[in-house]
Amino acid sequence: MCGIIGVIDRQKQKMNGSGIKEALSLMNERGSGEGAGYAAYGIYPDFEDCYALHIFFDNLVEPKSKVDDIIQKWGRVVHQEEIPTKEQPNLKRSHVPWRYFFKPYTDLMTGSLTPDEDIVKYLVMEINSSTIEGALVFSSGKNMGVFKAAGWPEDVANFYKIDEYEGYIWLAHNRYPTNTPGWWGGAHPFNLLNWSVVHNGEITSYGTNQRYVESNGYQCTMYTDTEVVAYLFDLLGRHHELPSEIIVKAMAPPFWDEIDEMNDKERELNKAIRLTYGPALMNGPFAIVVATHDGIVGFTDRIKLRPLVVGEHGSRLYISSEEAAIRTMDPQVEDIHMPGAGEPVIGRVVT
């Protein structure tokens, strides 16, 4: 089942985490108390140009020294600390959440157009693909961070003191796990670089999508289907430089019957997308919200087997599984509507 919610303030006015915590807790019917998480953008203004690497360590001895080694080979750690937490009676602390503010040495990655991002991506893949036991990078973007754990939304939020962070984009997820219960790494949001994903559903095309991203240099290590969405966005958005509505079209394309009816130009475009990005098409029931620095996009599968509701209020755009969650966060919300199947809902920062 799972409950998701995302919000953007298009004017980049910041919101603290208390609102989204309440909204997410409202959807506890959709969760099981075994996983919840938040992603927030704009929270580290002091380290704006550093990659904030959030890592779960099983302990601070061996895994951490290994991670220190590899990170320091590839760049400079500007600052590091344990992520501040507050013990919660109902939350069992399984890992030590840690954060590094990191600047890659760009000259180390040859043959790349975006060397700093590729270094960070390489480090994430390297650390996570079990070469380093007991360490898991769960967030790696700039001026943003993911906070997640196994527990109910309010406990996870209080554990990380979510109220104290101020961001202009927030994503949150309430998990009902079937695959990897109780594992902190299995909670959403999933993140790679600036891409964060919350996802309600199950991707029946996972094997196909996984092979596609793997043949493009990504490694799926989280034992769950959601991470593939983050990698697809990174591949199609960052490497192929596709506009976000086209990425959504690749993942949830119109049916051939619809394409056949389009005018020549549209048909050519849509056919090209389906032929080229067939392996990126995501099948199965899902509702997804993806965030990056300059916006959020929400969409569902092609026959809308999972709910998604949109609300707007001034510069704020909300996307959620439930209208009630949006109303909890913003009782004054105007213009609630339900997007069609596969139709992207895009909220962009205007500056």
Binding site: S205, S215, P243, F255, T276
Partner: protein, 504 residues
């Protein structure tokens, strides 16, 4: 001392009480099993029987009984009756043993040890009767990425040009069987069926008879080592061109159409003298390495103004994946892999039964290799050789194939009983023969309907299987090995297939 005769393969018996002496069996059997005596009695020569079942299917009284191996040998696990008989026959003839149809050895069938997935609770299955189910398949090169820009005015502009692709309404095509090997009526039935179902059929290396011209938009023309029937008219008419390097039933050797099968019409279509043996050499004499192949691909594209996809067909041999990767680097649009169970009109038995690898493993390793090298988009993968039903197709696609060719199954839908005597040119079903009286038994109107029905029913079953797995578009099944599990497959095979065992 004579070696004497080997025991009967089949025994035919007529229940004389049931028989009404209509003589249909006498008329229908082209192998001469039945003879009508002057007194109206029917004499039976069981030794001539091939188990083609023509008599049995035509007998109005169900009076005919056929039993296989009616005479036992002393049983022995190593010296099977077949092993003994081959030795006896070869001692007598001093020749290579010929055999028809596919590999007849008792190897395990991987398809039968793979199981498909279905949805329960966490994701809903999709009902193909209510929701769209997309099986449309495009074969050909795909770009690795699109250049799409958003312009100042907000308009989206596509700057990538697609290369020509074949559009199929179902991922099932009819494989190459040449006019000569099969009759014109048989080919016509296949062509009509392909047109009816929105798919394609292959000409084989026998040229394109003018009677097939009306269906040319659904025909893939083949260029093989004999170059039979190849001219610009032929190339221009096909929807796509296929270069045949090898064939699963007999990898590494050429083809041989006996002169008896080369009648005037066949000779004209093949562009060879009537009555002459049509021999395709083992290699193409202008292809001695991969770059020669790349040249031929380019040559054919140049000749047809780069308007048609060019496929390359190879037999599934041990290093099939590396060969396929080489082909993907040429300008070829699809690689066809033919597994060791692929059918044939005639092949040396020693090849048919011993050379090559199963199609299931070949698909998996080709798809994996292309993926690893990041060139999977450069070619479509078409699988053939021993595909018997819609489940085999679903499994092939989940292992990584884009589409399949069916051959034997299409023949069975026209009457073939897989008797394996195609090379004798006496097929009583009018399929693998050029004898006019036999050919006329096959009515293209009727048989094209049967072939089309087969394709339609398999397409329906594919939709149901996909829907049950929560998939509504064929591209989400392709290479989706997480929807397969291996049952009683050894670890090595599971590793090649990259499929988990059941329960995992």
């Amino acid at each position: 001392m004579s070696l004497g005769s080997v025991p009967l393969k089949y025994r035919i018996q007529i229940d004389r009480q049931q028989c009404m002496q209509c003589m249909r069996c006498v008329y229908n059997c082209s192998y001469g099993v039945f003879r009508e005596e002057d007194d109206g009695n029917i004499l039976i020569d069981s030794r001539k029987c091939t188990a083609c079942h023509r008599c049995i299917s035509m007998c109005p009284r169900d009076a005919i009984n056929l039993s296989e191996h009616p005479v036992d040998y002393r049983s022995h696990p190593l010296w099977t009756p077949q092993a003994r008989e081959d030795v006896i026959n070869q001692s007598r003839s001093g020749r290579i043993v010929l055999a028809g149809m596919g590999n007849a050895k008792d190897y395990p069938i991987i398809y039968d040890r793979l199981v498909l997935d279905a949805c329960q609770v966490t994701n809903p299955s999709i009902d193909p009767l209510r929701e769209p189910m997309e099986l449309r398949t495009y074969l050909g090169q795909k770009p690795s990425k699109l250049d799409i820009r958003k312009q100042e005015n907000g308009e989206i502009k596509l700057n990538t040009k697609l290369s020509p692709n074949l559009e199929l309404q179902t991922p099932i095509m009819i494989g190459h069987m040449s006019y000569g090997a099969i009759s014109l009526n048989a080919q016509l039935s296949l062509a009509k069926a392909a047109a009816k179902t929105g798919t394609y059929m292959g000409t084989g290396e026998g040229g394109l008879h003018k009677d097939i011209y009306p269906y040319q938009d659904n025909v893939i023309v083949q260029v093989a080592s004999g170059r039979f029937g190849v001219d610009i008219n032929y190339l221009d008419r096909g929807a796509a061109i296929e270069i045949k390097i090898g064939q699963g039933a007999k990898p590494g050797i050429g083809g041989h159409l006996p002169g008896e099968k080369v009648c005037t019409d066949v000779s004209c279509t093949r562009m060879i003298p009537a009555g002459s043996d049509a021999i395709s050499p083992a290699p193409h004499h202008d292809i001695y390495s991969i770059e020669d192949l790349a040249q031929l691909v380019r040559g054919l594209k140049e000749a047809t103004e780069w308007k048609k996809p060019v496929f390359v067909k190879i037999a599934a041999v041990h290093n099939v994946a590396a060969v396929a990767a080489g082909i993907a680097r040429s300008s070829a649009d699809a690689v066809v892999i033919d597994g060791f169970r692929g059918g044939t009109g005639a092949a040396p038995k020693v090849f048919r039964d011993n050379v090559g690898i199963p199609i299931e493993a070949a698909i998996a390793s080709v798809d994996q290799k292309l993926n690893d090298q990041g060139i999977r988009n450069k070619v479509s993968v078409i699988a053939s050789g021993g595909i018997r039903n819609s489940a085999d197709i679903a499994k092939s696609i989940a292992l990584g194939a884009d589409a399949v060719y069916i051959g034997t199954a299409a023949l069975i839908s026209m009457g073939c009983r897989v008797c394996g005597n195609c090379y004798r040119g006496l097929c009583p079903w009018g399929i693998a023969t050029q004898r006019e009286d036999l050919v006329s038994r096959l009515d293209p109107e009727v048989e094209s309907e049967h072939v089309a029905n087969l394709i339609k029913s398999w397409t329906l079953e594919l939709s149901e299987l996909m829907g049950a797995a929560g998939i509504n578009s064929i591209e989400s099944l392709r290479g989706n090995r997480s929807r397969l599990r291996g049952y009683m497959l050894d670890e090595g095979t599971l590793d090649v297939l990259q499929v988990k065992p059941v329960g995992a």
